[in-house]
Amino acid sequence: MSGFASSSIARKVVMALSGLFLVLFLAQHATINLSSVISPETFNKWSHFMGYNAVVQFILQPILIAGVVVHFVMGIALEIKNNRARNIKYVKYRGGANAPWVSRNMIITGLVVLAFLGLHFYDFWVHEMAYKYIEANPEDPTRYHAETVEKFEPFWRTVIYVISFVLLSLHLWHGFASSFQTMGVNNKYSPAIRSFTRLYAIVVPLIFIFIALYHHLNPITHS
């Protein structure tokens, strides 16, 4: 197995699997968030469940974090190796002639999304951890909606969110379909898979953008 783990194909498979896992998570995340626009009560209920359910908190959440870490650590490791594979660069290189920009710049879209994750963690996860474990506040199953909407009050944060989701869309546009190729799926169903993954790459980030804009434009009026 040691040969396997160090092989380029295995590393790519790790990228693909962790990526697919994150894609799944994204769908779940989008669904819950969408409820914040439709029904604050549902949103609060689901958020509370996610925040206090032991399985979610102590099993799923660490797996998720591990998935994110693996995906980006491996991504950066591969990028370094790939850079070394061409020690002298071309004077003239027309990458656009044979491959789309998104496929060639996963590291850029990926790093932007990673930077965004930092902010996002700070905004919600750090806040949650502090609220629950450091400040040891009592459970309040109704606070989530207001807290979320409040976050989108500043214009700058909304802009950052929107930009990040555009880049996430680009990342998914290539990455989601690409993970199937890495897993060895390239057959008559591939065009259908590609259509689905591209639709996904547009729709899911659009949902997040919509939510951010919606909350920014519909702030909770403090009475």
Partner: protein, 248 residues
């Protein structure tokens, strides 16, 4: 037509190279790209300068020797051809043409535009064959019926000329298209299945040892491949590799 050529000149593997400008005139559209370089070289020789070194041999697109990065693309702007089949009518009077060797750490420059592609040979030596003695006393050729589709797909993979354009085009200098074509060629045939597990493991291991980059599925290799080798081969190799790993 008149052109300005910007060409990578490098005395040998150990020296540092640089781009040098060569204005050239009297180029006709009917000339192949290499014939245009022949004209330049004749001029250089007459001036007593060292001609530009580049690999070439069959000049009909099959030996896979020629390996020029022309204006940022392997084998130039045209598709499904090698450099030797590129004709000057694809360029316009007054154009500047940048000519570089295929670049990859695994393909070090030998001189000027000539590179060392022995890494490809070593990948094939690691397992790109079927272990059958060449005595001729094998079973009758028609004793192994092979589905036409599989035979055709195997042929398509086997048409790879080993030029290295896939590596040159790839932003990661990955050799996955080449290696996967060589793996697929045998994986698709019953004769080749016998050693399939070891073959893919050994060839991938050698590919990694040579220092090629990873595949990030940009598809540039497939676009630039003069023989149109399909990305399906890479997916097939990935499958083969995963299956081989589970077998141990």
């Amino acid at each position: 037509m008149k052109l300005l050529l910007k060409i990578w000149r490098q005395k040998n593997a150990n020296s540092k190279g640089k781009m040098v400008d060569y204005p050239i005139s009297g180029i006709e559209g009917d000339m192949s790209f290499l014939e245009m370089l022949d004209v330049l070289n004749q001029e250089l020789i007459e001036k007593g300068e060292d001609p530009v070194v580049f690999d070439h041999d069959c000049r009909e697109g099959i030996c896979g020797s020629c390996s020029l990065q022309i204006n940022g693309e392997p084998h130039g702007p045209d598709r499904l051809i090698t450099t030797c089949q590129l004709h000057m009518r694809k360029f316009n009077d007054g154009d500047t043409i940048v000519i570089e060797p295929f670049r990859a750490t695994a393909f070090p420059v030998i001189k000027d535009l000539m590179i060392d592609r022995s890494a490809f040979d070593r990948i094939q030596q690691a397992g790109g064959y079927i272990s059958v003695n060449t005595s001729g006393h094998t079973v009758d050729a028609n004793a192994i019926p092979i589905e036409k589709d599989h035979a055709d797909e195997s042929f398509n993979a086997a048409t790879c000329i080993g030029c290295g354009a896939c590596v040159a085009a790839c932003k990661n200098a990955s050799a996955m298209l080449f290696t996967s074509a060589k793996v697929s060629q045998f994986a698709l045939l019953p004769q080749g299945r016998v050693e399939a597990t070891e073959r893919v493991q050994n060839m991938v291991r050698q590919m990694d040892l040579e220092g090629f980059g990873n595949c990030t599925n940009t598809g540039a290799c497939e676009v630039e491949c003069p023989k149109g080798i399909s990305l399906e081969n890479i997916a097939r190799m990935n499958r083969e590799y995963l299956a081989a790993t589970t077998k141990g």
